[in-house]
Subunit: 265 residues, 3 copies
């Protein structure tokens, strides 16, 4: 369902349920959340690469599971265990996306296939995303009567409103180059170069000050939710706290003496 | 001034005052608002196509009307009937734009000409927009001493800040391809293919679950006004309500049994 | 450190510390703030062009100064004069950026070189920006353990989140064409045409109603911090105030009688 492999400060987190197209069952959502919580507190991990096995990066929610839960709801009522689980699936999926945003480490999506619905949301949520030319992106909830509302939270903030509405209202497939144009992914990379390209990006980030990355990633998303004035008040305080940390002391001195930095954190 | 033609669930709403370049007189604003309110409650309408006759899609406010009202204000004072009407023109125009955002049905702008000031705002406000290569877009209020502040509300959220400021500060005309690049429109379509292209997009959306579209369109714009955490809390609740609706039940089952859905709503 | 030259309503504000790569020392931040305050109240100035001498447009904070202040902090404590000054550097730099946003006149960045960290923030903050092909942009705080959090306030609002995160997490240099694609600058202009191009843009803006520009620039950034409904309520009120001003009266009448406007303000 999910594997992690840590190498040189990079945690390769891979979805391995190729047969179910890496659908976000409640079990997988919980597994991902648990793994992300462990990564969050692991200071040896500098950056996370989220990849997937099989032709689909992630196909979104598990519709079979949802259908069964919904049918049980109808029999047993909205207060039933099944109803609670169905509700929790949406809530826990949203919390998992928020966990990626709030994670101490940057998360890079490595996409080599189809990313659908909550799978497309996953790509939009990651800090960075690279995809092979054959990768496709869509939010097809309108086809099954279930609008991709929560995917729209991430999508609407990653791409323009007109692009988001096109994807959400039509369910159309978007090809990788168009996804790059609209800001859903950072770059299209040839399939046989994708692993190396993502590794290079991850290694580059892993070589930077972990303290600065941790402080800065958290502050970036937080200030984006403020108005500009509050964002600057908050940001100025963060800068002051950041410069008083050991990594900034060392980093600035290394820079001034033209030495490569060696981070303590 | 305004015609509506309903065909296969698509409401073709057309501005017909070619001579006045479809200027948004108070009468037209009220006519559009009334028509949009009627469409909102008409469940047979799945999607709206907003088009226009003549060389101008819409030239914004009616300056002759505004000038007359302003002169009357100077004679009769700020508490006069004319002053109230002038104030109401801005307020009702803004409410009409908000009505498009909150409309149950998606609105597609079909642009084949010049869209100026509040006319450009109209394009920016629609959920989707397609334009012919000869179409032009501008917010030229600075040329008459009346900055396009309310058009800037829609423009600033559709295109980047630098693009918006370029248009607002200079009044420069933007050509259709540039408008597509900056996210003001979805796509440039050859003039002789524009009707068919927009009809195809409208028909595609009309084939989706109306319940999902109604719930999802409203939720999209609402969550975009929240911070990410509140957006997800709200979005998760909407997903739960959406999946308990009949269309989702049917849609998911149709998908799992590989049948085309037949929406009840 | 800083020169101003006023010609035909255009204030050419030039950073002249080529040797220090126009680093934003506390002295320069204060000098810029003072000059901006003076420009703000000078009705003869219609637009500001912010340029720079030397190979760097602006290299961000002065790291030597910061390092010295930080070392003094460690000796003398967080309540010491040096600690206060270090804190103030961040706060006053943010206030200077906010002053550009709130300035009565539009500010155009003319970039012909490297814009780094708070220097890149300066470009992102200006209302418009034009750059020569050799210009480079980056936010390399992660290289010295000090994440570019405050630059991220401006960057995150000018470019997409994925683009901002790429720059902030990697410190990578972005070339001018890519900066234009992502919305950090308006246009790439050949180096030998840059002065003329920026002058043309500045002259165009200087020819517009100063009252409309002042009202409209302020209103634009303010409404962008509101939700859509509040933005429209606020914007409608601004439109009403704007149309009752002398420039709008004259401008609309000039337009209707096909005469070029002559602004009183």
């Amino acid at each position: 369902m999910l594997t992690t492999r840590i190498l040189d400060g990079i945690c390769h987190l891979t979805l391995t349920s190729a047969k179910s197209r890496n659908a976000l069952s409640l079990e997988l959502i919980r597994g991902l959340t648990k793994t992300l919580n462990e990564i969050h507190d692991d200071q040896s991990i500098r950056v996370v690469v989220l990849g997937a096995e099989g032709p689909a990066f992630c196909s979104g929610h598990n519709l079979k599971e949802m259908n069964a839960a919904r049918e049980a709801c109808e029999v047993n009522g909205h207060a039933s265990k099944e109803a609670q689980e169905l509700k929790q699936t949406f809530e826990e999926c949203s919390k998992m996306m928020e966990k990626i945003i709030n994670l101490n480490q940057p998360v890079i999506a490595k996409v080599n296939g189809v990313a659908t619905a909550a799978g497309c949301q996953l790509v939009a949520t990651c800090d960075l995303a690279y995809a092979s030319p054959k990768s496709l992106f869509c939010t097809p909830g309108v086809n099954i009567g279930l609008f991709c509302t929560t995917p729209g939270v991430a999508l609407g903030r990653a791409v323009g409103r007109k692009n988001a509405m096109h994807m959400l209202l039509t369910g159309d497939m978007v090809h990788a180059p168009e996804a790059a144009d609209m800001g859903l992914i950072n770059e299209v990379v040839e399939e046989d170069e994708l692993d190396a390209h993502v590794n290079d990006a991850a290694s580059l980030i892993a070589s930077k000050s972990p303290t600065a990355i941790r402080i800065g990633k958290q502050a970036f998303y937080r200030q984006m939710d403020h108005n500009v004035h509050d964002a600057y008040n908050y940001g100025s305080t963060v800068m002051w706290q950041n410069i008083m940390a050991e990594d900034a002391r060392h980093g600035i001195q290394a820079f001034l003496s033209k030495q490569p930095p060696k981070w303590q954190s």
